[in-house]
């Protein structure tokens, strides 16, 4: 039987760059997840569900906390906007969404502050992921 989890988008302030005034709220599809590796598990942390990201990408700190040894992990190069690239380290971890454990892998880098859930390693675990912008909700169907 299908199980669907729904999460409200998370509002962030958006500022007028000319006046500095907070003009409105910008809603992002972020969900609380936990990461684990062996016996170590993190606190719940907000991660952005990003359909435009190829893979999961997390701040290096979370990998350090899980006891990952970056020196022994494959180096990968991440590209986004513009021509710059950053180095990341790829490792096997578990991602927890509610009580659902996803045995997956993620890339860790020092330059990325916001945890990102991408297509390979997150989206592929679900039957569907539906963004309902009019409701400001995202639905994850197992």
């Amino acid at each position: 039987m299908a199980k669907v989890l729904g999460y409200s988008y998370v509002p962030f302030p958006l500022q007028d760059i000319l006046t500095g005034k907070i003009l409105e709220e910008f809603f992002r599809p972020m969900i609380p997840i936990k990461l684990s590796h062996g016996s170590k598990i993190t606190s719940p942390l907000d991660a952005l569900i990003d359909s435009g990201s190829d893979r999961n990408l997390f701040p290096a700190f979370w990998g350090e906390l899980l006891g990952l040894d970056f020196k022994k992990m494959p180096v990968v190069y991440m590209a986004g906007i513009g021509k710059s690239e950053v180095i990341a380290y790829r490792g096997k971890i578990d991602i927890w969404v509610g009580d659902k454990k996803l045995e997956t892998e993620a890339d860790f880098c020092c330059e990325q502050p916001v945890p990102i859930l991408g297509r390979k390693g997150f989206f592929n675990f679900f039957k569907s992921i539906t963004f309902k912008d009019s409701e400001r909700f995202v639905y994850l169907e197992f």
């Binding site: 998370v10 302030p13 606190s43 700190f61």
Partner: protein, 63 residues
């Protein structure tokens, strides 16, 4: 019942890491350094928190 979330509580914490209550109504701790924030959060002895990053308010993002 759905609770309406507000971004107003985040305004003092631009470019910082925050530990939020699980209902996202309160900021329990904040720091510009994730390591320091994590230590603060551990000292709260509260497992019902969410650690989140508050990006700059003057930018839109393509992560």
């Amino acid at each position: 019942m759905l609770k309406k979330l507000s971004s107003a509580i985040l305004i003092p914490y631009e470019n910082q890491w925050v530990a939020l209550s699980s209902d996202r109504k309160k900021v329990l701790a904040a720091n510009k350094d994730l390591r320091k924030l994590h230590k603060k959060a551990e000292n709260l002895n509260n497992k019902d928190i969410i650690i989140s990053y508050v990006p700059s308010f003057g930018k839109t993002y393509s992560f």
